[in-house]
């Protein structure tokens, strides 16, 4: 078989082999079961509890959980603003990079606390090392925040009636120290020993073989890249992210970084199975997610390996495939695989420029973000999937004429209203945002000429992609978009905020209210939710609610571009 395809099969097999046992470990971390790692981590966690002034044994109800989460996120926002607007005089700035303007700092601060990592700046010129290191803090803690709140929903799904859903800080701290820290250390060292720089020295100046003088940006890259990949963050150290040969020097580092994208999102599904002691349910969820992922993946790889038809017409050969925006050391197949990995999870790092993908591949990356729950972001991907489960239970209940129940709890009007609002929020933010931007551009193309890097359908796709990426908390971009303007900084910032916190509040509210309801033991009349039939139902709901609401927009962008090209 083709070595490029084997590389992909290798990456998926390894991540699956790692994610299943790791999911069990995550489950143990959540329910406080003993592991061999306690010896080291218990003292470390105690430091947090003691200096943080918290009692990890105090159980919270769902409202207290949300309050704790929102408060700490507000503190993070303020701290991020403070650092980003004062980098120029703060330490660790060997290249003398400037502080950010107010609107750019707002966008960047929101982007990092919401686990999005949309970057309207370029790392080499837009941040000091101090700025990079503080942004790295949110790559840890915003990820931990999502994982911790997903654990709260896991607890709420247990078969009992309760309001007590564990302690938020307990889950948050343990996620940071026991899940993210050891993984990040491992990955960072693997990268550092394979050519990714880790230094605090500034730019180097060299003369190349041909005699030109060039400056080379360096920095503490290895530490940053590791957690950027693992926490579905995606914000690159350098502007072009993991296409940069110092951020991703060879095929081995590319495999490590790609595997890091999927590891925790997949493991979370198996963690759910472990916590609830419902392995079949976990496999149903995993199955639906995997089918969705593969349906997006296969056409993308095929299209990228086939190449660009407009270039084929010029009479040259494309033995590798479509190479614009791609690196020879990865090849189009591994780049297509990464592109779908990074968009179905809310990672957003790239190892090829998405703006230069062939039209249908561009559409599949968009669809990955529009659905946003085929594995999904760490923690929050499951919350999105949870909403679709609730919708599917309700619809199936109506179809067979029974009261809809999920895991022994009745789903009633209140839960359904919340689920519908959350399911429709994502299309609303994306389509309304794109509509406003298109309106502005169409009515004054000269004033906004610097926005778009490509004419026609593709230009529309650039705007659609930016709002989709913001609303999915993804962070990748069709980077041709001239996005460091007050309009894009503020519009995307607001979208990211709404699209992060409302889809956390909604599912937690549903789960919390279900947890407090009376538990109805399973009977012959109960709708089984851990079967392939129900999986198909969930998949249908996802296709109808998520994918189809975007069809008109996709028809104007990538689909129209496809027909203009082929």
């Amino acid at each position: 078989m083709n070595t490029e395809i084997l590389g992909i099969v290798g990456m998926y097999s390894i991540v699956l082999l790692l994610a299943i046992p790791f999911g069990k470990y995550i489950g143990k971390v959540f329910i406080n079961e003993k592991t061999w790692a306690d010896l080291f981590f218990n003292p470390l966690d105690k430091i947090f509890y003691k200096l943080g002034g918290i009692n990890p044994a105090k159980a919270m109800n769902w409202k207290q959980h949300l309050m704790a989460l929102l408060t700490i996120n507000l503190i993070w926002f303020l701290l991020a603003m403070l650092v980003l607007t004062n980098m120029s005089w703060l330490p660790l700035n060997p290249d003398g990079n400037p502080s950010m303007s107010g609107d750019l700092a707002f966008n960047t601060a929101v982007s990092f606390i919401t686990n999005t990592n949309l970057q309207h700046y370029s790392g080499e010129t837009g941040l000091s090392y101090f700025g990079q290191l503080t942004l790295m803090l949110w790559q840890f803690i915003s990820a931990a925040c999502g994982i911790a709140i997903a654990a709260v929903v896991f607890f709420a799904m247990k078969e009992r009636t309760t309001e007590k859903l564990g302690n938020f800080y307990f889950l948050f701290v343990r996620t940071c120290t026991r899940i993210l820290l050891p993984l990040a250390l491992t990955v960072a060292l693997l990268l550092a020993y394979n050519g990714v720089p880790m230094t605090f020295e500034g730019k180097d100046t060299i003369t190349n073989l041909q005699g030109d003088t060039v400056r080379v940006s360096r920095g503490p890259v290895a530490a940053f890249v590791a957690i950027k990949q693992l926490g579905t963050n995606g914000g690159g150290f350098y502007g072009p992210n993991s296409t940069h040969p110092l951020e991703n020097p060879n095929y081995f580092t590319n495999m490590v970084e790609t595997i890091s994208i999927f590891l925790i999102p997949i493991a979370m599904v198996f963690a759910l199975g472990f916590v609830l002691k419902k392995r079949k349910l976990a496999w149903m969820i995993f199955g639906v997610m995997t089918v969705g992922f593969i349906l997006l993946l296969v056409p993308t790889i095929t299209n990228e390996m086939k190449g660009n038809p407009a270039i084929a017409k010029m009479g040259i050969t494309q033995p590798l495939g479509s190479m614009e925006g791609k690196e020879v050391r990865f090849g189009p197949a591994a780049s297509a695989y990464w592109a779908i990995n990074t968009t179905v999870t809310s990672n957003g790092s790239v190892n090829a420029m998405h703006d230069s993908l062939t039209p249908l591949s561009g559409m599949n990356t968009l669809l990955g973000m529009m659905v946003n729950c085929f594995y999904g972001g760490v923690g929050v991907g499951f919350l999105n999937f949870y909403i679709f489960i609730i919708l599917a239970v309700f619809i199936s209940g109506l179809m067979v004429g029974r009261t809809p129940e999920f895991l022994g709890k009745k789903i009633e009007a209140r839960e359904m209203k919340i689920a519908m609002i959350i399911a429709l929020l994502h299309p609303l933010l994306i389509l309304a945002g794109t509509a406003i931007a298109s309106y502005l551009y169409a009515h004054n193309p000269t004033a906004y000429a610097s926005w778009l890097n490509n004419p026609g359908f593709h230009g529309f796709s650039e705007m659609l992609y930016e709002f989709t990426s913001s609303s999915a908390n993804n962070g990748s971009g069709f980077e041709g978009l001239g996005d460091n303007t007050p309009f894009w900084n503020i519009a995307c910032g607001v979208v990211m905020l709404l699209a992060r916190y409302l889809p956390i509040i909604g599912p937690v509210a549903i789960a919390g209210s279900l947890a407090a309801k009376k538990y109805i033991p399973e009977s012959a009349g109960t709708l089984k939710t851990d079967t392939a039939t129900f999986g198909l139902m969930v998949f249908a709901v996802i296709v109808i609610v998520a994918a189809l609401s975007f069809f008109p927009a996709l028809a104007l962008g990538p689909i129209a571009e496809y027909f203009s090209l082929y």
Partner: protein, 186 residues
């Protein structure tokens, strides 16, 4: 909300210390033992230092060309072209690159040119080209440097990097290493 403010501030402070501070220092300390003390892999040749992984601009006819770059191989402001596949300006750029290549390599027939030689990479710093991209430049260099073609062919196969473990990923040629080896042929 009030009861959460103080713990939130305190936990954030500890996180800052541990994840931005301690974690970074551990990675930094252990990296000191890696290539060039973690400052990036380098190649030293003829008393000069080059970064192994950072691609260089090669447009001189006596060297194997590297790929086109949207940022002219500026390793302090890297980036791609971000051009869509149907963009007319972009397609014109590619056509121009093909024509320029044919002018400099009259012995090559157009349908042998692989697309990586006329398209820009993602970061504009790609250190590699495909094997085919190196092979079609042999005639030009052989003529200019008066080196027999088989010698150059062998040089290419010596500098070809195989897929990882022999079966994962692409086969490619490291342009800088190839050109350094080329300079040493005399």
């Amino acid at each position: 909300m009030k009861e959460h403010i103080l713990p939130a501030i305190q936990i954030t402070a500890i996180c800052l210390l541990i994840f931005s501070g301690v974690y970074t220092l551990i990675v930094l300390a252990v990296s000191q033992l890696s290539f060039n003390n973690g400052k990036g892999e380098i190649i030293v040749a003829n008393g000069k230092t080059y970064y192994t992984n950072v691609g260089q601009k090669f447009t001189d006819d006596k060297y194997f060309y590297s790929r086109p770059s949207a940022v002219d191989y500026n390793a302090a402001a890297s980036g791609g072209s971000n051009k869509g596949p149907a963009n007319p300006d972009y397609l014109k750029t590619v056509r121009d690159r093909i024509d320029t290549f044919l002018v400099h390599n009259p012995a090559v027939s157009k349908n042998k040119i692989p697309s990586d030689l006329v398209t820009a990479s993602g970061a504009g710093l790609d250190p590699h080209i495909s094997v085919q991209a190196a092979t079609i430049q042999v005639k030009r260099i052989a003529k200019l440097r008066s080196i027999p073609e088989p010698v150059l062919q062998e040089l290419i196969s010596k500098n070809t990097e195989k897929p990882l473990l022999g079966f994962l990923g692409t086969e490619r040629v490291h342009v800088l290493k190839l050109n350094l080896a080329l300079d040493q042929l005399k």
